[in-house]
């Protein structure tokens, strides 16, 4: 079971719970399994099968570099984080550049 910490702005979706325990071997599975517990949360985090631009997920405190593909160890903590990349993430228009 992973413990997902729900950010304050999404707690209303989860019956005001601060954290929810769900199964999942990857972040994709964790977020999918979270949706029945917190209806609507999936659509807010995932867009066209990918992490929405700007959203960061962390596993045990480390920002997941591989996004939804990140493996989730047993008993991990998962956070939905405000990005903290500072100078590196501030540029306007960074969301989903056409690479």
């Amino acid at each position: 079971m992973a413990t997902v910490f729900i950010p304050a702005s999404l707690r209303r979706l989860c019956g005001d719970r601060h954290s929810v325990e769900v199964e999942g071997a990857t972040l994709r599975q964790v977020i999918e399994n979270l949706d029945p517990e917190c209806p609507g949360i999936h659509a807010l985090i995932v867009e066209e099968g990918m992490l929405r631009p700007g959203i960061q997920l962390a596993v045990n405190g480390s920002t997941a570099a591989t996004g939804l593909l990140r493996e989730v160890p047993a008993d991990a903590e998962v956070q939905i984080l405000p990005a903290m990349s500072g100078g590196a993430g501030e540029a306007p228009g960074r969301g989903a550049p056409p690479r």
Partner: protein, 760 residues
């Protein structure tokens, strides 16, 4: 002062000369201003004289008639931004905002907002021509502070914008139930139960703070030269922290595939977060397309202040609850940061960082991103953190005073340790917070006696999360035993040296054997900006992995040469490859044989590492305040920081000293001054007062080295956190010297004098 490094390294931890040093001190290094191409035109930008105005008409006929003027453009010359007509707030159309910030569409939203640009055969003609472009404006009322902007019934800068609830800092979610004028978004961060926390408190203290707008103050102005050739390929030479970020923004604004754009980063004269967004580069590109000639644009100094992103002016309210023994039970903050004309202030980071040095079970921060008629803010060194920490660290100081506890002791009692949860719920791992506080408590500065009248000592902590992100690097082994190291990370603070040192360490060779070079976007894989304190960490990972690949290749080659099984060959950390029967190659020896034994060897790596270690800092400052003039003299300054492993201690110290000085500037003299019409009055480095060398003492540093377990050499980002503590440290020192709490920074003599003089 450096604590001994944990591991015995050969190169890491030494202080070699930077590879770019000679060319920089002799003036040979090539900056964007040095670009000169055949047939080149010179571009200039016409800027709005009003803070808020409808652009009724732009008539360029007279300018175009001036001999030498080749083209004039307005936003109409850009490809239409998608969602151009749709509702701004609801769709979070940041492309539209990006384009509008480059060149205003139907409205100018701040004094200095670009409204048109032109290109001419020489810079003087271009300047003459600017005055000939006729623009008819219809002035609109500006909103100039978060208070004005958020007041009920305030004029809305973006009429259709509504407050959005943020899921994370850049991810808008549903529309907020509370629609506050000009508040683009609200982000709530929360752990624990705040009401419970305050109920447990025996002392509660609540205070308000403000900070002014501060600019990064890099000495080199923005510049860009664009050539859009006949086959539709765009090449841009420019000064940036992130060539790939520039390429991607240009691609979005110009609606070009990234493969059509080549960005060549020149040497950069400072950025501090400000050289990430595009400003006049897209204009240069469109002017080049229109004229068929290369177009060079360099901002004047005042344009840098008018037209590029400073950091937010802020309002922060803090409420703390504590037990009589100083134990914090609750911490609450309300933060409203000016975003400028388009959304995107670093308010979330402000809320995220301010309480992080402390273990507080119950925390909440409400963060508002507020639109005002000022330049769109940009990242500035630990964006958002200094203002939040100024509020927190000042209030802690007052709490210490109330409870009669030594201010450092109070912080130590509440120090966040491994396992402590931050406001976003994540638990810290391997942090040096307590070690930093201990080093501060043991420092000569803290233990010295402060003597003399009108003097005070202040202390404050700071926190910053640091970044990871993508980096690419490759390295080639040259026949003469050197290694060419090819990088996508531009070098602002000695990165070429710090990266060359890491691969030298990995390969067991000398620093002098590595020749680092920064290349353009066609010559290496995607590499994120030099910013976010990420480069020595993430690109360091990449060069280490490239080095490991070279080691493996050379082991295989040695095995082939010796005709033994590869498993019997080992590349040792001293750079010697050893095989059976005492056979060995030095790096130089095998490098000389490569071309005759199967050809050259390269190592490469593309990484996106996790495990960035957060950074903590503690600053101590002594000041003297002239009671007659209210001028604050900084007498002594010590910055203590957990730096992970200091790869090149000189440059780590340089980062700390530079950050501290910028923080002192924010604390004492730097701010944008606007008149009541929203016109910027001090767009020059004469009146926008950054500290000079005569205004600051030597900044002493104490490097605490708690290696980051998430990095092969224990690197932690070091560049940003040093700007976080100075604001409160200086304000706390002023309080001790004068008894006055400065809750609005900068504490310029003019403002402080009002506090010191009897009321009129």
């Amino acid at each position: 002062m450096v604590a001994p490094a944990k591991k015995p390294y050969r190169v890491v931890g030494s202080r070699p000369v930077r590879p770019d040093g000679t060319d920089k001190v002799t003036g040979r290094a090539n900056y964007g201003a040095d670009i000169r191409l055949p047939g080149m035109l010179y571009g200039r930008v016409l800027r709005s004289p009003h803070a808020h105005a409808r652009i009724v008409r732009i008539d360029a006929a007279k300018a175009l008639a001036l001999p030498g003027v080749k083209a004039v453009i307005t936003q109409a010359d850009f490809p239409a931004a998608e969602d151009a007509i749709t509702d701004l707030g609801e769709t979070a159309s940041n492309l539209k905002w990006l384009v509008d910030n480059v060149l205003a569409s139907d409205r100018a939203l701040y004094h200095g907002h670009a409204v048109a640009a032109l290109a001419a055969t020489d810079p003087h003609v271009a300047e003459d021509a600017l005055a000939l472009i006729e623009v008819e404006y219809e002035e609109l009322p500006p909103v100039l502070s978060v208070h004005e902007a958020m007041a009920e019934g305030a004029p809305r800068v973006h009429p259709n914008m509504h407050t959005v609830e943020m899921l994370a800092r850049f991810s808008p979610g549903p529309r907020s139930e509370h629609d506050i004028p000009n508040a683009a978004s609200h982000l709530r961060l929360e752990i624990g139960d705040l009401d419970q926390g305050f109920a447990e408190a025996e002392v509660v203290i609540e205070r308000e703070y403000e900070t002014g707008t501060a600019h990064q103050g890099y000495i080199e102005p923005h510049n860009g030269t664009a050539l859009w050739n006949e086959s539709g390929e765009l090449t841009v030479w420019l000064s940036t922290q992130g060539p790939f970020m520039m390429r991607d923004q240009l691609a979005r604004v110009l609606k070009l595939p990234v493969s059509k754009i080549r960005v060549i980063p020149m040497e950069i004269g400072g950025g501090f977060g400000g050289k990430i967004p595009v400003y006049m580069e897209p204009m240069a590109a469109v002017l080049s397309k229109k004229t068929g000639r290369p177009v060079k644009m360099i901002m004047q100094r005042d344009e840098v202040l008018f037209g590029t992103g400073p950091t937010s002016a802020t309002y922060v309210r803090v409420k703390l609850g504590a037990k009589r023994d100083g134990t914090l039970t609750a911490a609450e903050a309300y933060l409203a940061y000016e975003a400028g004309a388009y959304p995107g202030s670093p308010v979330g980071a402000g809320g995220m960082c301010m309480f992080s040095p402390y273990s507080v079970p119950n925390q909440r921060a409400d963060c508002y991103d507020v639109i005002v008629n000022k330049p769109k803010v940009s990242a500035y060194r630990a964006p958002g953190a200094p203002a939040g920490s100024f509020a927190m660290e000042s209030t802690l100081d007052e709490l210490a005073e109330q409870l009669d506890i030594d201010p450092l002791e109070l912080r130590q009692r509440n120090a966040a340790v491994d396992g402590t949860r931050r406001i976003d719920g994540a638990a810290f791992q391997s942090i040096g917070n307590e070690a930093v506080m201990r080093a501060a408590a043991e420092s000569p500065h803290w233990n010295s006696e402060l003597q003399g009248e009108n003097r005070g000592r202040g202390i404050a902590m700071g926190y910053w999360g640091n970044g990871g992100l993508e980096s690419s690097a490759y390295a080639t082994v040259n026949r003469d035993g050197t290694v060419g190291l090819v990088l996508g990370s531009v070098d602002i603070g000695g990165q070429r040296a710090a990266l060359a040192m890491q691969i030298a360490e990995t390969l067991g060779i000398d620093y002098e054997q590595v020749k680092p070079i920064v290349v353009d976007t066609d010559s290496i894989g995607f590499t994120a900006v030099t910013g976010g304190s990420r480069t020595t960490f993430a690109t360091g990972w990449a060069v280490h992995e490239a080095g490991l690949e070279i080691r493996r290749e050379l082991e295989a080659r040695a095995a082939r040469i010796w005709e033994v099984d590869a498993s019997l060959v080992h590349y040792d950390d001293d750079g010697v490859i050893r095989g059976p029967e005492d056979r060995s190659f030095t790096f130089r020896e095998i490098a000389g044989q490569l071309h005759r034994t199967g050809g050259t060897v390269q190592g490469k790596a593309d990484v996106m590492p996790e495990g960035t270690g957060p950074a903590f800092a503690c600053h101590i400052v002594d000041v003297e305040v002239d009671p007659d003039t209210a001028k604050v003299e900084v007498l002594r300054y010590t910055a203590i920081q957990d730096v992970g492993t200091a790869i090149h201690p000189d440059y780590v110290e340089g980062q700390i000293q530079g950050g501290a000085v910028q923080g002192i500037g924010m604390a004492l003299t730097e701010e944008y001054v606007y008149d009541d019409q929203g016109r910027l009055r001090n767009a020059s480095l004469l009146d926008y007062r950054m500290p000079t060398t005569l205004d600051v003492p030597q900044i002493d540093t104490i490097l605490v080295e708690e290696p980051n377990p998430g990095h092969p050499y224990g690197v932690r980002g070091v560049g940003e956190v040093p700007i976080v503590p100075p604001l409160a440290a200086v304000a706390n020192a002023i309080h001790q010297a004068t008894g006055v709490r400065t809750r609005r920074l900068p504490a310029s003599p003019r403002v402080l004098l009002e506090e010191l003089l009897p009321e009129e």
